[in-house]
């Protein structure tokens, strides 16, 4: 139902998420933002079960901010991703596991850009590109075919648009618009929303 995608370039990470908040067959919101800002250069994209997403993402968000307050410096994207995975793993075998699928995207001054794929079973993988949701089945092959590690920002946005076009053509659910953001050494930048009909 929901869709997340991330593409890592040489010095940036491009991420996008759909805007639909659904309840059974009804779209309750068309402009819902699934990205959570963990710090100036880290974004957490979160989809999954209704209440779990917001609760878990806000919990991670507040803890990352607490770390900064206590220690005076921010968690790196890799550290934040491992912290998130640890929390997922801790709750996995409790009576109340969190059913959430995540993409964590960030830019570290030392390590450069990073995109981390996590799923509800608490697996973690650093990947050059990743996607979550049923839409991933349709778009991963496109990413496999056209991705290069030295993509420019415009080329990455074009690749993203190719994926969205494929979703609009073959996916049975209607995902009319997508939030797009780019993270680089200067922080998080909002980019133009991709909707049906943008070329």
């Amino acid at each position: 139902m929901e869709y997340l995608i991330g593409i890592q370039g040489p010095d940036y990470v491009l991420v996008a998420a759909d805007n639909v908040a659904a309840s059974s067959i009804i779209q309750m919101k068309h402009d819902y933002d699934k990205m959570f800002k963990l710090s100036d250069k880290i974004l957490l994209l979160c989809v999954g079960e209704a209440g779990d997403t917001v609760q878990f993402a806000e919990y991670i968000q507040k803890n990352v901010q607490l770390y900064k307050m206590r220690n005076g410096y921010e968690l790196s994207p890799s550290a934040a991703a491992n912290f998130t995975r640890k929390n997922l793993a801790d709750y996995l075998r409790s009576r109340t596991p969190y059913h959430v699928n995540l993409l964590l995207a960030g830019h570290d001054d030392a390590d450069g850009p990073g995109l981390f794929y996590m799923d509800y079973l608490a697996s973690l993988a650093k990947a050059p590109f990743a996607a979550h949701g049923y839409g991933a089945f349709l778009t991963l092959s496109i990413l496999d075919r056209y991705y290069r590690p030295d993509l420019t920002r415009d080329e990455a946005v074009d690749l993203l648009k190719k994926c969205v076009e494929e979703l609009n053509r073959r996916f049975i659910l209607n995902l009319p618009s997508f939030n797009v953001r780019l993270i680089d050494k200067d922080g998080i930048h909002d980019m133009e929303k991709i909707s049906i009909g943008t070329k």
Binding site: M28, A50, V54, R95, T96
Partner: protein
């Protein structure tokens, strides 16, 4: 309830069943502790009651009360925002499986002068959680000398419902209200500060009409038009066609009535009457309850008149 807690009045019999004090919103605990078996002093805002231990062994008797018959979430409630405030409308049928348990139920409840709540799901759960919400909003107001915003109230309710996720609690409330102050400071601001990067609604002025949907699954959605229940798809069909910001009060009321009427016509689990509330900066006001049977007959007559007129025109034309 609130007065009891403030005066530290202890009713021994009730204490044995519900030995938990009201939640203290002064302490802030950033750790999200999932509730384990036994409860201790509830110091954190999230803990209100401890849900019963979920049974691991299926042969053991369940600790929650068994339902005597299947309860369905049959209802049509809706709310939308427009230039003249917020309209909240709902049907009045309480269904239990295929039975109309009560044809004249109040699904819209005023919480305070500028907040009205529409409920769907389990009637008993909604009634209880509305009272709990009223108590907590009132306690907040007494403690902090300012009224909690609608978004803050929604977040508070959502946090209180979170420990019960996965149990049989079924509550889907739409908070429809009017925020009075502009630019909140202090706790309420932190409570309703959105965590998403850009929240379209947080850029809107902080006073004015507000509509937030809170569900026992954990969902919390702010929107301009929300409809909940088995009749909601039918209601959305009517609302999406006629809704705009610049509607007059009469047009908005008539649209809400029409939406509930069409939903009750098609949905078996909604029906009987329609309740309508209107919330403005001056507070909420209630329209008298209307029987939809009359509306149905009027609609039938309108259709037959239109058909007759068209046939007459055709005859004249020939």
């Amino acid at each position: 309830m609130a007065l009891e807690d403030i005066c530290n009045f202890k009713d021994e019999r009730v204490q044995q069943l519900f030995p938990f004090p009201a939640l203290e919103t002064d302490s802030h605990d950033l750790e999200l502790k999932r509730l384990k078996t036994s409860q201790t002093h509830c110091g954190t805002p999230q803990r209100v009651f401890v849900p019963p231990l979920r049974r691991v062994d299926p042969s053991e008797p369940p600790l929650t009360a068994q339902r005597p018959f299947p309860l369905s979430h049959g209802t049509t409630t809706l709310g939308f925002v427009f230039q003249g405030g917020v309209i909240a409308a709902a049907d009045t049928r309480a269904s239990a499986g295929g039975l109309v348990a009560c044809p004249a139920v109040h699904k819209i409840t005023p919480i305070h002068s500028h907040l009205v709540v529409t409920s769907s799901g389990s009637g008993a759960d909604c009634m209880l959680w509305e009272r709990i919400l009223t108590r907590e909003i009132r306690l907040y107001e007494l403690r902090h000398k300012r009224r909690l915003s609608i978004r803050g109230s929604a977040k508070l309710l959502s946090l209180m419902l979170h420990p019960f996720k996965g149990t049989d609690v079924c509550v889907a409330l739409t908070l429809c209200g009017w925020d009075k102050e502009g630019g909140g400071t202090g706790l309420a601001h932190n409570l309703d500060n959105s965590s998403s990067v850009t929240d379209a609604s947080s850029s809107a002025p902080s006073s004015g009409p507000r509509l937030v949907y809170v569900c026992s699954d954990g969902a919390r959605l702010q929107g301009d038009v929300i409809s909940v229940g088995s009749g909601s798809p039918y209601a959305y069909g009517v609302l999406d066609g006629g809704l705009s910001w610049s509607l007059s009060k009469e047009e908005a009321v008539s649209l809400a009535r029409e939406a509930v009427f069409r939903a009750t016509h098609r949905d078996a689990y909604s029906g009987n009457n329609v309740d309508l509330f209107h919330v403005t900066a001056q507070g909420w006001s209630q329209r008298p309850r209307e029987d939809l049977r009359e509306e149905y007959y009027r609609d039938m007559e309108r259709r037959s008149n239109r058909g007759r007129r068209r046939k007459k025109d055709r005859y004249d034309g020939e």
